[in-house]
Structure formats: structure tokens, C-alpha cells
């Protein structure tokens, strides 16, 4: 125990050393506090109850022992009396003198403590005296009748005189035994009280305790150490003896009295009065021995308390450690993760809440790590995209300015030629050429305008129901000359279907598609067919052009994309046609698909919802428009 206490304190000191560990201090302190208060309160109460009970028991035991000795002493005196009384039982007559003498001698022999025996006649005069050591005297006639002892014995049957010391040493008492009837004699005996030593010496009180007998003056009558009696040792100055002598005769029940015995040892003393004799029995038990069980229980309580304290401290340390360790691990792990070490993982063994918390931390770090990686990828892609868009824009600007310069250049040439006064025929051709150049410029600006409108979100589709036929007609008329100029066969199919769409936007879609087809097709044909199925009108625009490689098919709808293979005439669009197509189709919610491959031409399909044909008047109105 003594070794482990400093150890515990050392542990406590180490646990509580760091100021940041306030939490552990609180936990440990509360555990120890609760344990200690419970133990102290419970231990204190039970100890108090136990000590009270113990003291009561010790007191009762000693009181009982003292009373037992007192009863034994009284019985001794009673025995002497009853062994003597038969001598005076018969009425006193002067004729049986010899019988009385024989009886007296026999009695004297039978009662060793009796040293002298006197027989008195009914008048109180001594008629016979027999003695162990002194002379036997017959008929001395000594008169006892006037003594108080004689009167008391006559009246009450017995009188026990004061204790006296023969030759200053052996304690004696004179007992008068009186007959009840006036015709009976009486007895006076001297009793050597040294012979009751056995009774007192035989009393065992604990291991070192003892009992002794004293008279009402506090003179020792009997003591286990007989030499104290024979020396007439003065004991009435002893505290517990004085207390016993001062006690009222009626008060027999009393608590133990503390004091010091003749040897000066601390003792606890009980006291009992020998009834009718006025003698006192006093027991002495060394205080240490009497209270030994109490001390044992007090010591035991202290040991339990200290053990409890130790156990509480150990528990507190263990609990604190088991809580603080994971918290420390979590804290440092969180700090490292917070500093950017996303690949750091927190390791806490076990299956408690801390382990779960560690796992959550790890999961969080992992998702952060993944998130960061994705973000980086996105940024990279976006950057790439932006770069490409930028490139495309630069390219567009270059091409657009180049492409726009071509008709402008042509226009300036034609204007110059007009100033040189050409022929009529020549002028007519110039006029055509001029119109053509202007038309191309228009087309280019339209595309740019559309694109900027799309990007600005300024286009609102206006849905309506209309027949396809006029639309197809317009396309056929628009592109007939261009196809013819390139030597291509233009096949625009008919359709009587009505569709729900924005007529202008749909027309622009189809125009762009057909225009692209004509632009990139060198020979063969360009076609447009409508095919109705499942409430949808599939409008296909196809050509026999170079086709689009599969890897480029995802890019063709992007802004400023232009096929790497230019048309035969070297004429290239602005790269906005298909972007516009897709944007419009998206606005109209018309799905668009492309099927193509290098050398097998291209086929664009747009799906438009079919509606029932409207009434004639409406149809006519629409057709007119």
C-alpha cells in the first residue's frame, strides 16, 4: 500500500501536469471525490454504529462479569451461614452441651475459612468457643447481647461485621447468625477472607483483566495478587475505585469507568455491589485490550478508505487515459488534416465512440481528398476548354476576317470594274456578282447575329402549328441555284405533314443543314426527306460528302467548329452553322442525331412532333404567310 500511494500520486501528477488536460483533471477529481465521499460517509456511519454497539457490548460484558463475581461472593457468605445455621436450629437447652460441642467442632472442621466459632445462649452470652489456633473455652459467659451486631443478627438473621485484618495482614470478618426464635441461641464466627482468594483469582476478564473485592471503606478484601491484600494496599485513591465508592448504592447499572490501576496502566473498570454486605466488586481491563476490537475496526475502516481512495485514483487514471488518448490522437490527426495532409489517417483501436469518431474523420479526409482531385480535374478540363474556346475564337476571328474580306475584296473589284464603263452584258454579270457577294456577306452576318443572340439568350421560340410543305418549297428554291452551281443533285422530298414548332427557327435549322451539306459535298447529291412515324416527323438531311470521323462527331456542334476538310471551292463557313442548329433544336426541344463516317457521307436527323392538319382556311392562311 505504502509503495503504491506515491506511485498513484506520480501518475496523477503526470496526468494533470499539462494545463490543456483540464478535462482529465475534472474527470479524475470527480471520480475520486464521489468514491471518497461515499466511502467516508458510509464508513463513518457504519464505524460509529459498530463502535457504539461494541462499547455497549463491552460494557454489558464487564458489568455482567462484575455482577457474577459479586453474586459468587454473596453465595459464599450465604453458604457459610447455611452451613452454620443448623447448629442453632434446635431450641437451646442446658442438657445437650456435649452435643453442641461435637457439632461445633465438626462444623469448624468442615468450614476451613472459619477460624473461631462461638455459640451464644438465647440471652446472648457466650457458652462455647472453639478455635483452630486459639484456646477452646466453655462457658465464658461473655455478654454479646448489648452489641449492635447481636441485635441485628437477632432481628434480621445475620449480621456481617466490618472487615478487619488479623495481625495486620489477613482479612477477617465476623459474622453473627441469630436464631429466629427467642429460644434459639446464636452464633458468632470469625471468617478468614483470604480463603475466598480462589473465587476472585479464578475470574478471567479478557487476557489481562482482573476482578477484585473491597469493602465499603475501599480496603482490599480479595485480589488475584494476594500480597496486595495482605499488605493492606491503599487503593481508594484510585480514580475508578473512588467512582465506585461514591456511586449511590441503588445504582448498579453504570458505564465503564476509565482509570489507572495500581501499576499505572490505563484501564476500563466495571463495578458491582455485593448486595447486603456493602462490599464492592471491581473489574479492571486494560483499556487497550477492551478497545482492541474498536481499534481493529477503525484501522480496517481506514484501510478500506485508503484502498477505496487508491482504487478510485487508479480508476480515474485509467478512465482519463482511455478518454484522453483518443482525444489527443483525434486532435493531432485533425490538425494534420487541417494543415492539408489529406492522406493522414487517424488510428484508434477498439470499438467505442472514439473509434467511430476516428473513422468518420478518416472518411471526411478521404472525401476531401477525392473532392480535391475531382476539382483539380474539372479545373484542368475547364481551363483546357477555355483555352480551346479561346483558340477557336481567335481562329474564328482570323477566318471570319479573312472570309469577310473575300466578298469585300470581290465587291471592291466589281466596283472598280464598274468605273471602267463595262459593256451592258458585262454590267449585267457584274450586277449578279455584286448581288452574290452581298448575299454571302449577309449570310455571314446573319450567322454571327444568330450566334450572339443565342449566347445572349435572346431567342424565344414561338411555337405554332404549320404544314411542312411550304417550308420545304422555300428551301428547294433557296438552294437550287447553289447546288446547280456546284453540279450537285438537290433532292428535297415532299411532305404533307403538319408539325408543331417555330417555323422560322426550324427553317433556319434546315437551311443550315442543307447549306453545310452543299458546302462540304464535292459531287453526288444532297437530299432532304421527311418520314413520319409514331407521332414524330423525322427530317433527314443527307449528302455524299466526305463524312465526319466518329471522334469529331461530338465536337461538330460546338461554336466555331469547322471540318478540317474544306469544301471544293475552298469556301468555308464561319463554323457556326451546326452550333446554331443544335442551339435552336435544343430551344425547340427537337432531338437531333448525326450519323456519319469518313467516305460514307453525313446524315443529320431532326425529330419534330407531328400534329393533325388544321382546317382548310387556317392551312391556306398559313400557306400564304
Amino acid at each position: 500500500m505504502s509503495r503504491s500511494i506515491p506511485w498513484i500520486f506520480e501518475r496523477l501528477r503526470r496526468v494533470f501536469r499539462a494545463p490543456r488536460q483540464h478535462f482529465s483533471v475534472k474527470v479524475a477529481a470527480s471520480i475520486i471525490g464521489v468514491a471518497v465521499s461515499v466511502i467516508v460517509v458510509a464508513g463513518g456511519l457504519s464505524l460509529r454504529v459498530f463502535v457504539d454497539a461494541q462499547m455497549k457490548m463491552i460494557t454489558a460484558l464487564h458489568q455482567l462479569q462484575a455482577e457474577t463475581v459479586a453474586a459468587g461472593i454473596l453465595r459464599f457468605v450465604d453458604d457459610q451461614e447455611s452451613n452454620l445455621r443448623w447448629l442453632i436450629a434446635p431450641s437451646w437447652t442446658s442438657s445437650n452441651e456435649e452435643d453442641r460441642r461435637v457439632d461445633a467442632l465438626r462444623t469448624l472442621r468442615a468450614l476451613p475459612p472459619v477460624s473461631t466459632l462461638r455459640l451464644l445462649d438465647p440471652q446472648g452470652r457466650e457458652q462455647l468457643r472453639v478455635s483452630r489456633l486459639g484456646p477452646d473455652i466453655a462457658g465464658s459467659g461473655a455478654d454479646f447481647s448489648q452489641t449492635e451486631a447481636y441485635a441485628t443478627a437477632r432481628h434480621q438473621g445475620r449480621h456481617v461485621g466490618p472487615v478487619y485484618f488479623q495481625d495486620g495482614s489477613e482479612p477477617y470478618v465476623t459474622i453473627h447468625v441469630g436464631g429466629a426464635s427467642v429460644r434459639q441461641g446464636s452464633l458468632v464466627v470469625d471468617v478468614n477472607l483470604k480463603l475466598i482468594w480462589d473465587m476472585v483469582a479464578a475470574v478471567r476478564i479478557g487476557d489481562a483483566g482482573r476482578a477484585f473485592l473491597m469493602d465499603s471503606q475501599g480496603r482490599l478484601i480479595s485480589h488475584p495478587d494476594i500480597s496486595l491484600v495482605l499488605r493492606r494496599t491503599e487503593i481508594s485513591s484510585l480514580q475508578h475505585v473512588r467512582a465506585a465508592l461514591e456511586l449511590p448504592l441503588t445504582d448498579s447499572k453504570s458505564a465503564l469507568v476509565a482509570g489507572r490501576d495500581l501499576e499505572g496502566r490505563d484501564i476500563l473498570s466495571a463495578h458491582a455491589l455485593v448486595p447486603s454486605l456493602g462490599w464492592h466488586v471491581i473489574t479492571e481491563l486494560p483499556r487497550a485490550e477492551a478497545l482492541a476490537p474498536v481499534y481493529v475496526s477503525v484501522r480496517l475502516s481506514i484501510i478500506v478508505l485508503l484502498s477505496g481512495l487508491g482504487a478510485a485514483a487508479v480508476c480515474a487514471i485509467l478512465i482519463t487515459r482511455s478518454m484522453i488518448r483518443p482525444i489527443e490522437t483525434l486532435t493531432s490527426g485533425a490538425t494534420r488534416i487541417g494543415l492539408g495532409e489529406l492522406d493522414h489517417r487517424i488510428v484508434i483501436s477498439g470499438s467505442d465512440e472514439f473509434t467511430q469518431l476516428g473513422k468518420r474523420f478518416n472518411e471526411m479526409a478521404e472525401s476531401l481528398q477525392i473532392e480535391r482531385a475531382t476539382l483539380e480535374e474539372k479545373v484542368r478540363l475547364r481551363t483546357q476548354e477555355l483555352a480551346r474556346a479561346n483558340q477557336a475564337k481567335s481562329r474564328f476571328l482570323a477566318t471570319a476576317s479573312h472570309d469577310l474580306r473575300q466578298p469585300l475584296h470581290a465587291l471592291s473589284l466589281f466596283v472598280d470594274e464598274l468605273q471602267s464603263r463595262p459593256t451592258e452584258e458585262r454590267r449585267a454579270r457584274l450586277h449578279d456578282n455584286l448581288a452574290d457577294a452581298v448575299g454571302r456577306l449577309n449570310g455571314m452576318f446573319d450567322a454571327i447575329l444568330d450566334t450572339s443572340k443565342i449566347e445572349a439568350g435572346a431567342i424565344r421560340p414561338a411555337l405554332s402549328r404549320f404544314p411542312m410543305a411550304p417550308l420545304l418549297g422555300a428551301i428547294r428554291k433557296t438552294f437550287a441555284s447553289a447546288a446547280e452551281a456546284k453540279g450537285l443533285r438537290l433532292e428535297i422530298g415532299d411532305s404533307g405533314a403538319w408539325v408543331e414548332s417555330d417555323q422560322l427557327l426550324l427553317q433556319r435549322i434546315l437551311q443550315n443543314l442543307v447549306s453545310n451539306a452543299i458546302r462540304y459535298t464535292i459531287s453526288g447529291h444532297v437530299g432532304l426527306v421527311c418520314c413520319e412515324a409514331d407521332g414524330l416527323l423525322t427530317i433527314s438531311v443527307f449528302d455524299t460528302g466526305p463524312g465526319i470521323p466518329v471522334e469529331l462527331q461530338s465536337e461538330i456542334f460546338e461554336e466555331f467548329f469547322r471540318a478540317p476538310t474544306p469544301g471544293q471551292s475552298g469556301e468555308r463557313g464561319l463554323g457556326l452553322g451546326l452550333f446554331i442548329v443544335e442551339s435552336f433544336a435544343g430551344l425547340l426541344n427537337h432531338p437531333i442525331k448525326v450519323r456519319s463516317g469518313p467516305g460514307s457521307g453525313s446524315r443529320f436527323e431532326i425529330l419534330v412532333p407531328v400534329v393533325p392538319a388544321a382546317s382548310g382556311a387556317l392551312a391556306a392562311a398559313v400557306a400564304r404567310r
Partner: protein, 332 residues
């Protein structure tokens, strides 16, 4: 956890208690292994006191001082020569006796030697008159013991003789003058005799040889009875003394049963074995450190009266009812 700890503490305490007990028993064994030496010294012959020494040994055993285990008794006998006593006493002290038990005539001699060891005396005399004590409660320095109160019994014995022989007139007291306090005994005896109307004279028998002289004297004076002073000398020569008395047809009264057994008419005196056992108490107390002067001189409390019926018959005597009522033992 508490329970375990408590258990552990408990077993630890048990262990400590056991260890303490072992240590205590070892130290006890060590003390008891150390034999305490006690000297026994008398001026008499060994044979005279054998049976009483047995009582002393018993007493020592009762006091947990069994001979050969707790205490070793060194016996020294003067063989009837008091002159040898100082030499024997010194011998006992140099032999390592821590205490001397001194009997009879040797007592005043040993006291005069002023030895450095306590003395427990065993005397027939009045210890105050003999100068062994100022009073019963105040023995002289380094000295205490027991007395047989022989002088108190002389009167009582004369009283008994007077009762047996109502015509008794003359009694001779026979005894060893070396016996301490014998003059007091003689005086006491004479006083009692005067009260009873009996004259008494003292016949000194200082040695075994003087008994022949005594025989002649007795044959001439013819006392009605002989009161034999009980002591070691009388025990040693009891057969001779009894033979003389029987031959002269003089009844003998003495103090101890051993004389009744040897042919005395009756004996009255203290129970000697009880007294010799009591000596062991003094030995034990003194060896345990009590100062001898703190132990008062003790007197006998138990007495015995022995009658010899055979001897009575030889004198054509019948013991009265009163005599028989008083007797503790009647030898047939």
C-alpha cells in the same frame, strides 16, 4: 476491486500476525530455554524433607516453572551441621542460583551472610520474633517466605492432650534447640500450660546422640506426655524418638501427620504440602521481578488433626466424640 484489496490486506495482516506469533514463540522459546536456577538450602539431612519437596516441585509446575523445564533447583543439605550452611549458600550463589529457598535453622545464618540474591524462607518460627520480618507485611530486605506458626500450635496441642488425659499434669517438650525461635515456642507453651494447669519442661536434643541422654532423663522424670517440636530434626529421628516413647509408655503429640504415622498419639498442625506448594508462588513472583519485601509473609490457612487409634488402644484409650469430630484423619 475493494474486496480483493481488502482480502489481500486481510491475508497480509494474517501473515504479519503469524510472523509476529512465530517471533514471539521463538523469543518465548529462547526465554524458556534459559533455565532459571533456584537454590534449596537446609541444615538437615536430605531424607527428612523428601515428601515436602515433592509438594514444592508440584507447586513450581503449577506456576509454569516445572523443574527441568522452566527452573532448575539446586539442592544443598547441611547434614545436621549448621556450620556448613555459609559455605553451601555461597556455593549456590556462585552456581548461578537467582534465589535461595532456605529452611529451618539455616535461615538466620543465611540472612547474616547478606547475599546478593533474594531469600524465601520456610520457617516454623514466628518470623517477627526470629527477626525475619518487622511484621507479617514487612519482611526484612530481600527476604520473605512462609511460617508454620509452630508456637501457636503448642498451646493447642497441650489443650488436646488435656482433653484426652484430663488428669494431665506434666508435659515434656522435646526439641532441637537449634531450631530458630524455639525459645518463643517454649515460652508460649509454658503460658498455655499455666492456663490449663499443666507444668512443662523443655528437653533439648541438639543432635542424634543426645537422644540417648534424653531417654535417661525421660525415664527419670516420667512426664505424662511428650510434645515433640515438629521440625526436620524430629522427622529425621522420629523412629528413635517414637521407640523411646513407646518403650517408656509415654504418649507423644506433635505437629505433622508423619509423626502420627510413626507412632505419635496424635498430631495437629498446618498442612505442610500446601505450604510447600505456596513457596513456589513466592519463587515465581520473585523470578518475575517482584521485590521480596512486597510479598508479605504468609501463614498457613489449612490445618489437619490426625489421630492414631492403634497407639490410643495401646494406652487403653478411647477417643471422645469431640476428638473424632475434630479429626481430619484417624489412623487405624
Amino acid at each position: 476491486m475493494l474486496v480483493t484489496l481488502e482480502k489481500e490486506m486481510h491475508s497480509r495482516r494474517e501473515f504479519l500476525v503469524m510472523a509476529a506469533c512465530t517471533a514471539a514463540s521463538q523469543s518465548f522459546a529462547a526465554t524458556s530455554a534459559r533455565m532459571r536456577r533456584v537454590g534449596w538450602l537446609t541444615a538437615q539431612q536430605p531424607g527428612s524433607l523428601t515428601s515436602y519437596l515433592e509438594a514444592l516441585r508440584q507447586g513450581l509446575a503449577e506456576q509454569k516453572l516445572a523443574e527441568g523445564q522452566g527452573v532448575e533447583v539446586l539442592y544443598r543439605y547441611g547434614e545436621d551441621d549448621v556450620g556448613r550452611v555459609p559455605e553451601l549458600a555461597h556455593d549456590l550463589v556462585t552456581s548461578g542460583a537467582e534465589l535461595l529457598i532456605v529452611q529451618g535453622a539455616a535461615i538466620p545464618v543465611v540472612i547474616k551472610l547478606d547475599l546478593p540474591v533474594p531469600i524465601v524462607f520456610v520457617t516454623s518460627a514466628d518470623p517477627i520474633a526470629a527477626g525475619f520480618a518487622k511484621s507479617l507485611t514487612q519482611p526484612i530486605d530481600n527476604c520473605t517466605g512462609v511460617t508454620f506458626m509452630a508456637f501457636e500450635f503448642l498451646g493447642k496441642r497441650l489443650e488436646i492432650l488435656k482433653e484426652i488425659f484430663p488428669t494431665l499434669r506434666h508435659v515434656t517438650v522435646l526439641g532441637n534447640p537449634l531450631h530458630p525461635g524455639s525459645s518463643i515456642e517454649r515460652a508460649s507453651s509454658e503460658e498455655a500450660g499455666r492456663r490449663l494447669g499443666i507444668s512443662s519442661d523443655f528437653l533439648a536434643t541438639p543432635s542424634g546422640d543426645s537422644l540417648e541422654v534424653a531417654r535417661t532423663t525421660l525415664a527419670h522424670s516420667r512426664p505424662d506426655a511428650i510434645s515433640l517440636l515438629p521440625d526436620g530434626f524430629a522427622i529425621a529421628h522420629r523412629q528413635t524418638i517414637m521407640a523411646i516413647a513407646t518403650e517408656l509408655r509415654i504418649p507423644v503429640i506433635s505437629g505433622w501427620p508423619v509423626f502420627a504415622q510413626a507412632g505419635a498419639l496424635c498430631t495437629y498442625g498446618p498442612r505442610l504440602p500446601v505450604i510447600y506448594r505456596r513457596i513456589a508462588y513466592f519463587v515465581a513472583r520473585i523470578l518475575n521481578g517482584t521485590r521480596p519485601s512486597d510479598l508479605p509473609v504468609e501463614r498457613p490457612t489449612q490445618f489437619e488433626f490426625v489421630l492414631n487409634q492403634t497407639v490410643a488402644r495401646s494406652f487403653n484409650l478411647t477417643f471422645s466424640r469431640a476428638m473424632l469430630a475434630r479429626a481430619d484423619e484417624v489412623i487405624e
